[in-house]
Symmetry: C2
Subunit: 509 residues, 2 copies
């Protein structure tokens, strides 16, 4: 059949568009959901069939493919492909056993993850896998099998050095851009830190989104490797390197279900780090009333699972449990967060203290991965590197190497529209809801509109008078501002109370 | 926004097509999977967003809707609708609790089923519900809550008679068209039997597909009611009446996962029957090596669950466990099955004995629902009605009332292409794989091509010589014939062995 690109983005599910009168569709007998196999040049993909009644989208003897599917096969319009009814993916038996609640073995996970990475699963099958793994929890050996299979599904980098460090946070805290400080600090110290970051999934900005304000983040793997060798670090988007690609596919169904089960979180994070060639990882688990982890026992269970799997995979892991009661720094959204990061690097008096302190502590822990550094000395070393301007210099070198965007943090390009959220009465800021403030920032346009977001003027424990500005919301478009304002009027994310109402910190760090 | 019908059949999931440069899409921040709410004339639906880069599909300020979604709102092209970011469906909290393995209450099931029937769930959420209910099994009270909520999600018919009978089979046995014999027999006996049937889901023909060879089956509810009042029975498609509509939505994800858990099967079947106004039901559970139920203990567990829920819902239920070792009758596919049914009704010597016997036994059980009939007399009454030609006359009256297609079963319009499957060596037919023979019939074009399918010339226990014809496959198109032939050459579904190899019948019925 002649193939045609249908310019519809079906979000990681391959969809084939077939005209209702097409002979291939008929053979499948009315099954709008059934799958077909598309082959060309020795490659093949599976795609879910959507039936089309409009010849301007696809004609009777054409096969339409959604954007992702078309790109995967590297096709040109009109090229001839072979279509056949799809055999079920090889791992379907293992999937059905997991749905039935069985424990799976190493081979099962390898087969399933291989099919997922090869886009052989439909959204329905993906969801079934994710939900079946969520319920009854994977046992810890299964989490190891899953992580290991995810590494095997893609490329694996080897830096040929004994110490390759990285840091990661399990997420959920807006403004938590410590990576952009930790990487230049430890790289300036001489450690190898090839940090690949994610874009925002449900948050108003991922590290890659914020770094993109300062420099290019979509770099081919060869250029990335060169930058890492030259500067001992980078801050790029992880999606271009094919590291644990099954994870990206799974995320497409985990997100709408808000599923973030411990097993899947561990497999997702550790597989990416192993694939990126890391040998040592510092992992940040924030706790707080609106953080992903809400109690210390829960944090400890999660820590033990991370440690078990990391050990099985030969990764040296240091878990730190941190204060997740409120956003870190002041800005939420790419430009605002980039401004905060640059202020810390420049030792600007306006720099948010909490962001600086957290980054120094994490960098200190990483520096202590070096066996030559005495336990407890890391923080001081990190602070010296930051205060002396060596971290800033290293960041500027990395920015220049990745391709500078000439961001001026003293004159950040914020959204031209804004409104302010005011304190309804006098008191003390006793709570900031991470989830709601993130939602407001997203509705305002972040991360798509780089200058959109929320700038926090008050943080936990601050005294406010009635009418004081709690935060300012920036947007680039009127409709966005309106959506954010509506969300804000339902709940502004701030709780004003007495000083005794501020939740206690669980953690020392 | 101006709305536009996009002629894509997305199989029961509402999809909204938005241009990438559209302001509504931008506000949602890159989330190709996120949902929007579409409002018009006091109605609203939720739809999953697919992003489009081709203005000929949707333009920048247009909202494209898939066929189902468009039809649900009863729109015209160009009409103005209001679009907003979707709030999560109200039952999402209950869904998340079920995913986490909690037992749900009556209100939870009402909320979830209401959202499902209202098309507020995406395929991902539907799958999550189905898989979460599959694992760890719903307890029997939860199955009752689910069934009850499914009845409440749609219309409920009331025939104002004390005895409204129906029969149902749990499925899985090709050619099992007993309903088309049972309905005219019991209707001729004077019992009210408003049978609504399904179309094929994974099988080569549903009762509605086979009946459609003889008469119209898509009738408005008013006409259906009139036919039932006039003739005491009908054989129509259940999809037009809005009976337990949530079930139809759930099937769209259960099918590709081959999920047919006891709880979901019971809720699906009983809710449809209660909604159709039945008071008495005879339920057929076939057992066999390639049937849905493969052992007697499994059949008994399923029977008890059906009985518990039927009792809670006030339905009188009689479960019969039948021989499911092979297809019933000879023909598989709409025309071939219609031919078998008409041969039985006409007492034609070529009529398949097994189909006749099974139908008479089921009809006998239904007739015994009448308290005036003595236990054991039902079969004889049914046989008299069939042998005397009264069942045929009643069937002809029902066919005429629904709108006859003038089918001539002595000259059935079979597919013009065919091939024969031959015995590879001499022996006895020791096994017929229901699943594989159904697959071959489907690939040949059934049920879409009415004359396509498989005609069985040998059944279990029959002696065959090498080269004897086991069955003949009919197709309407060359490509279909080829797909069927390939499947047949991988496995022809027949096992030839010695007479002692024929599996024993578990059941008396």
């Amino acid at each position: 059949m002649a193939v045609r690109r249908v310019a519809i983005d079906t979000w990681r599910e391959n969809v084939a568009y077939l005209h209702r009168d097409c002979s291939v569709y008929r053979a499948e007998g009315f099954q709008a959901l059934s799958k077909i196999e598309v082959r060309v040049n020795g490659q093949h993909i599976l795609a879910t069939v959507n039936v089309v009644d409009d010849a301007s989208i696809v004609e009777c003897n054409e096969l339409g493919l959604s954007e992702d599917a078309f790109a995967q096969l590297g096709l040109e319009n009109g090229q001839t492909v072979t279509v056949s009814p799809a055999e079920q993916p090889a791992s379907m038996g293992a999937l059905f056993r997991k749905i039935d609640g069985e424990r799976l073995g190493r081979e099962d996970f390898l087969a399933i993850v291989n099919d997922i990475a090869g886009h052989h699963y439909s959204k329905i099958e993906l969801t079934a896998f994710v939900v079946a793994c969520n319920r009854g929890e994977l046992d810890r050996e299964e989490v190891f099998f899953l992580s290991d299979a995810m590494v095997a599904s893609g490329q694996r980098l080897d830096w040929h050095e004994p110490l390759v460090v990285d840091k990661h946070c399990i997420g959920g805290i807006p403004g938590n851009r410590t990576s952009m400080l930790v990487v230049p600090i430890v790289a300036a110290h001489g450690m190898l830190c090839p940090k690949t970051s994610s874009r925002a999934i449900t948050s108003p900005a991922g590290t890659a989104d914020t770094m993109e304000v300062l420099a290019n983040v979509e770099l081919p793997l060869e250029q990335l490797s060169e930058i890492v060798r030259d500067h001992r670090g980078c801050l790029a988007w992880g999606g271009t390197a094919q590291l644990a690609p099954a994870d990206d596919v799974l995320i497409s169904v985990e997100r709408p279900l808000s599923i973030d089960s411990p097993g899947q979180m561990v497999a997702s994070i550790l597989s990416k780090k192993i694939a990126a060639g890391s040998t040592h990882l510092v992992l940040d688990i924030p706790i707080g009333p609106s953080a992903k982890v809400r109690s210390m026992p829960e944090a400890q269970r999660l820590r033990r699972l991370f440690e078990y799997v990391a050990h099985r995979m030969g990764l040296s892991l240091d878990v730190v449990i941190t204060d997740g009661r409120q956003p870190v720094g002041n800005g939420i959204g790419p430009v605002l967060e980039a401004r905060d990061v640059m202020r810390v690097l420049e030792n600007d008096p306006r720099a948010p203290i909490d962001l600086r302190q957290k980054a120094l502590r994490l960098a200190g822990r990483l520096i202590e991965c070096n066996p030559d550094v005495r336990g407890g000395d890391g923080y001081g070393i990190a602070r010296d590197i930051l205060d002396s301007g060596r971290a800033l210099a290293r960041m500027q070198a990395i920015i220049a190497a990745q391709g500078s965007k000439n961001f001026d943090h003293n004159n950040p390009q914020l959204g031209s529209l804004s409104f302010e959220a005011l304190a309804p009465f006098a008191g003390v800021v006793a709570g900031i809801d991470n989830l709601q403030i993130a939602r407001i920032a997203r509705l305002a346009g972040a991360p798509k509109v780089q200058g959109a977001g929320v700038d926090l003027l008050r943080k936990l424990g601050d005294a406010v008078e009635q009418g004081d500005v709690l935060y300012r919301v920036y947007a680039g478009y009127g409709a966005d501002l309106e959506f954010a304002r509506q969300a804000c009027s339902r709940s502004n994310a701030y709780r004003i109370g007495a000083i005794g109402d501020v939740p206690r910190v669980f953690v020392e760090f």
